[in-house]
């Protein structure tokens, strides 16, 4: 401990009179009389646990967001790329499927024969009749 000879307060400024000096002494004694605080039984153990955890690079390292966010930067960049590209390709697919789902007037006009083509119990005459009727209707439409 450094002993400077200042163990008794001797303020340089402002110069105290004797009453000031007594007041200073009273306050100093009162403050010094404050008992030491009670220390938890596990105080030292908790310090050692923290030192050990930091030495191991334990969970406290995880609390440092800077460490793991830097490591996740490539994954984040990939996700951002997917987020940008996906909507574009998805809208293109949706457009093409919508277009294929929209029936043309020609497809509609052949629908009866197409339907009958796939029915097992339709006779050959009925099939021919349906095809001719459809062709006839198309001819009128033109």
């Amino acid at each position: 401990m450094t002993d400077t000879g200042h163990s008794t307060p001797a303020p340089r400024q402002p110069a105290p009179d004797s009453r000031d000096h007594d007041d200073q002494k009273l306050v100093a004694e009162l403050l010094a009389s404050l008992p030491a605080p009670e220390v938890s039984a596990d105080f030292l153990a908790r310090i050692n646990a923290r030192i050990d955890a930091e030495a191991r690079g334990g969970w406290l390292v995880l609390a440092d967001f800077r460490a793991w966010t830097l490591g996740l930067a490539p994954a984040a960049a990939a996700l951002a790329l997917v987020a940008v590209l996906w909507p574009a390709s998805a809208s293109r697919t949706a457009t093409s499927s919508t277009a294929s789902a929209t029936p043309t007037s020609r497809q509609t006009s052949f629908a009866p024969s197409s339907q009958s083509d796939w029915q097992r119990d339709v006779t050959g005459d009925a099939l021919l009749d349906a095809a001719l009727r459809s062709a006839k209707t198309n001819g009128h439409a033109r």
């Binding site: 200042h6 163990s7 400024q13 200073q24 306050v27 009162l30 404050l34 008992p35």
Partner: protein
């Protein structure tokens, strides 16, 4: 001569038992200092633990220019200041507009006189100290509660010794009327 010197050298070489002994020697002083400097707003033991953890991590860089005790007090003051700066930032972010920080917390507990006399006295002293500006509070705490020499305080705070003396003098002057009831009851 620093009474902690041998322990500090052993601890700096990695001896945990030596460091444990340093903690035991200074734990009460660090908790007292943390309690006074934070004005009781934070758990003094948590702050004191942070001080010792930082001390352990920096021990190899401790050159022995000052005593270990002075160095430890300097770390404690920095830990509290950093913590308070963080608190102020958080307060500004989340506190409702128009409410100012400081002071209000110290008013807590005025009706707790039913507790034992020692605790009541400690609370009264804490409140009186909390009413001081920070520079006066730190100086008088280091001198009268922690028992540091003037030169040690000057080294811990990085100010001239005359400034330390002046601050302590003014702090005691301001404390006198606040502690008058306790002084009369002694």
């Amino acid at each position: 001569m620093d009474p902690d010197r041998a322990l500090v050298e052993a601890a700096a070489a990695g001896n945990r038992d030596a460091f444990d002994e340093l903690v035991r020697r200074h734990q009460a002083a660090m908790i007292t200092l943390a309690r006074v400097l934070t004005g009781g707003r934070e758990d003094a033991e948590d702050v004191a633990q942070e001080v010792f953890v930082r001390a352990w991590k920096s021990l190899r860089r401790f050159r022995g220019d000052s005593t270990f005790r002075t160095w430890l007090h300097r770390i404690a003051i920095n830990v509290v200041r950093t913590s308070q700066a963080r608190r102020v930032k958080l307060f500004r972010l989340f506190a409702p507009a128009g409410r100012e920080s400081g002071g209000a917390d110290h008013e807590r507990g005025t009706g707790e006189e039913a507790m034992d006399a020692v605790l009541a006295r400690r609370q009264a002293i804490d409140r009186a100290l909390a009413a001081l500006p920070e520079d006066l509070r730190v100086a008088v705490t280091l001198r009268d509660l922690q028992g540091l020499e003037y030169a040690e305080i000057a080294a811990a705070l990085g100010v001239p010794i005359g400034t330390v003396e002046s601050r302590i003098f003014r702090a005691r002057q301001r404390l006198k009327p606040l502690l008058q009831p306790l002084i009369e009851n002694r």
